[in-house]
Symmetry: C2
Subunit: 126 residues, 2 copies
């Protein structure tokens, strides 16, 4: 584990971007950030844990809402500066209540909403 973490290229804030992808459908759910501790915890528990930049603390995805991500597989890119997490997403990934955070499509230079709200947002942000 130490060799793995040492081989990653964290940015100046000690973070790497991590893409979460639903393992079976291939849907890209979100992009978030991980530090060493978040990666270690995720690999140890198979529950995805990010680093929240806005709250400056570990962010155990779904810790209050229950919209957790179970890690199926972790991948590392060629440069060691990005991660791909193949996950089993419970419920929705996005705090807006949509399955994926990438719900806005660019059409003719404008952003258009392209995914339905599946869960009332309310308490989803976690």
């Amino acid at each position: 584990m130490k060799a793995l973490l040492d081989a990653l290229k964290f940015n100046e804030a000690g973070l790497v971007p991590a893409i979460a992808q639903q393992h079976d459908s291939g849907e890209v759910l979100m992009l978030a950030w991980m530090n060493r501790e978040a990666i270690e915890e995720t690999l140890q528990t198979s529950r995805v844990c990010y680093w929240s930049r806005s709250r400056a603390r570990l962010w155990r995805k779904g810790e209050t809402s229950g919209q957790v991500q179970r890690l199926v597989e972790m991948r590392i890119d060629c440069d060691g500066d990005a991660l791909l997490l193949k996950v089993e997403q419970t419920g929705v990934a996005c705090h807006t209540g949509r399955r994926s955070c990438f719900f806005r499509r660019v059409e003719a230079g404008e952003a258009v909403e392209a995914e339905p709200v599946l869960v009332p947002p309310g308490q989803l942000y976690d």
Copy 2:
């Protein structure tokens, strides 16, 4: 287009991360970075153009190797600080000659190569 670009949250270097995903198979190919100019060019030409951080210049993916990415659809995430590019990848995305840059799988805390080299690397880096 200006409203779209103004709504994005670029980082302190003027960049946002962009995930490239093969549009039909769902395979995540790579993560790279875009600035305003790269996004504009990509939308105007439908040929994916990134910002190369290592070379500090626009990086028209495949400009010498021919391993280009045709943009099928661009998505923006809920926070406006990440992009998802659904693309048609010609050949391979990775400079190592593998289809995807995420060819290393984490197994028991170690990185293991999990994808074959399809094209001899040589001149692929572009």
